[in-house]
Subunit: 337 residues, 2 copies
DNA sequence: CAAATTCTTGCATACGTATTCAAACTGTGC
DNA sequence: GCACAGTTTGAATACGTATGCAAGAATTTG
């Protein structure tokens, strides 16, 4: 089977108009009479013509492409974000060009993105390389850091209020009467971890407590398991653990229940962060902090659209409210009202 | 900040060569002397030049874009596939253009894909519309149905051996001494469900059993919960359920354990299909059939690359072996060896 | 009804690259 | 020094569309 491309010229010939007329007929706000447009659209339908986005991108400089950069998809927070983001962009005539990358070859990936003339970049689970920061500043492509931020870079960011989220957790655990409260960190160089941890500590301090123990799970399933074993290696164990995200919290709960034979929440309380779908599953019923993913997507879209529209990049930071979702993995606060 | 595009012409001027020379320097197998290429690359680096993929796509007809069409990402099988697929394509210089769609507006999406001049299409969790089938046959773009197939269409397909997988489950449950074996179907019009169910029934028949009850979960979390309630509404309940995929199986287990107060696998055995990461989580330890996702990705890639290379589409169907992964959600077979 | 104004339309060009073609250059063997 | 093959190079062109421009058509205004 051979590729039979049909171009605007072909349509023009059939409709007996100029190629310009065809082009204009497919542009929303162009100067074409109703009858001409009708003729063109009819001919186009007959030939199965669709404007070539590539050619359009060439001349107009608008590729309608948004690069989404992601490191892993095994934390369920990100697939859901990608789905919602892609849906929202599609509605606006944009599309998602997906890049998976470890932090290592990020520079190469950046080059590739630029090659595709993307009109915007969303970095959803990778930290911002200095190269990218520079490049994006140079070229004027808007960049949104999703669920992370980098104060020194010109990139915009969208996050939940991680500080307040961490604080909510601290208060809840204190109110629950816990005395040996531990923390399992994500990646220590991530802004999410920094803020959640800072807010958590601040919340503890407000009740004159300090963190009883701390370990690092690096946002990975295995890392969290190791961190848990480390925290619970001695005889006297924590009576509550705040885990920096849900993905790790599941692993923590598994280790506690299976290896340590502990009962949750009677022996130990667990609180996570994100509120991914699995948190509501019967096997976990994880008390957690909900990130408002819809609001975060909306903010991302509006930042992108605005900056693409007015062809200028400026740094904006959206911080959206987080909310504690109470389920069954943490002891309820003592009646205190 | 303004967009400062640097073109091959700019590089040519700086390197004091022709634009052609620049183009050739960035093409692997082109006629350029080593010294010229060196000059060009040096100038390019200095200016931060990268070939414009859009322009290249224009002239050469190769967009290096593969459309991936997906309906939902909440079944974790798909995010993982997308990650692996994207990685593999990136290594080969291709990139994933992501399309999220319900079956409704699929035709629109197809038009959009064509507009981007994609070189291949992977349909990963949506059924093939007749429009797409026709279009793809017309234009000669290779289409791979991932984890599904449509015998009448010209599209290639990659699946696991769903029939054999279903049979493995039947045999395992029979060997486990189960007497009231039920089935919870996915979407009844999906090829995966058809095959898994057919294989399952065949397996049962081989041991002179038939399915004891059946309900439909439509591959959704809530659908599976309802199906479970339906199957277990009367006093006499099934003693085993084969659920058409893992995603539903988790929901089934939740309902059985929480609402029905049943113990798995003592009271009832559950077997799923896919072997998503959550199947190995402590809260479920789901016995399931593993789909060889790496092998399926490999097959997809090789079908695409081959057909793109030789610029011809032909229908190929890869069926890869499935394997039963024994965990703890189903009673072990009685010692029979 | 003529003049002024707004709408439509086609021509020509531009976008940034790959590629064909012929010319220029290189080196080889006689 | 010459004919030859092989290699390297630049000029020109093509890809499919959008758009500035000017001319023509249609409409409004006085």
């Amino acid at each position: 089977m051979k590729r039979a491309k049909v171009t605007s010229g072909d349509v023009a010939r059939l409709a007996d108009v100029s190629q310009s007329a065809v082009s204009r007929s497919f542009s929303e706000d162009a100067s074409v009479s109703a009858v001409t447009r009708a003729k063109v659209l009819k001919a186009a339908r007959k030939l199965g013509y669709r404007p070539n986005v590539i050619a359009r991108a060439m001349i107009s400089g608008r590729s309608r492409l948004i690069a989404v950069l992601v490191a892993y998809l095994d934390n369920q927070f990100y697939p859901i974000v990608i789905e919602q983001l892609s849906r929202a962009l599609q509605e606006r005539g944009f599309h998602v060009l997906l890049f998976i990358t470890d932090t290592g070859n990020q520079d190469v990936v950046v080059q590739q993105m630029m090659g595709y003339q993307v009109e915007g970049i969303v970095m959803a689970s990778a930290s911002l390389s200095s190269t990218l920061a520079r490049e994006c500043a140079q070229t004027g492509i808007p960049v949104v850091l999703f669920n992370r931020y980098a104060p020194s870079s010109p990139a915009s960011s969208v996050t939940s209020d991680n500080i307040e989220g961490g604080r909510l957790v601290a208060r809840y655990l204190v109110d629950g009467g816990h005395k040996r409260i531990a923390y399992i960190a994500g990646s220590e160089d991530s802004s999410t971890n920094r803020d959640r941890e800072a807010g958590f500590y601040r919340g503890l301090a407000e009740s004159s407590q300090i963190v009883w123990a701390r370990a690092v799970g690096n946002y990975s399933f295995e890392g969290a398991a190791d961190a848990t074993r480390q925290l619970c290696s001695s005889k006297i164990k924590p009576d509550a653990i705040f885990v920096a995200n849900d993905h790790m919290a599941f692993s923590v709960m598994d280790v506690l229940r299976i290896e340590m034979k502990l009962h949750i929440p009677n022996d130990i309380s667990i609180i996570g962060y994100d509120d991914v779908p699995e948190a509501d599953w019967g096997g976990y019923k994880l008390t957690t902090v909900r990130q408002p993913s819809e609001a975060m997507i909306d903010a991302t879209i509006s930042i992108l659209m605005e900056q693409i529209q007015q062809e200028t990049v400026s740094r904006r930071a959206a911080i959206l409210p987080a909310e504690l979702i109470v389920r069954q993995s943490a002891r309820l606060p003592k009646n205190k009202s």
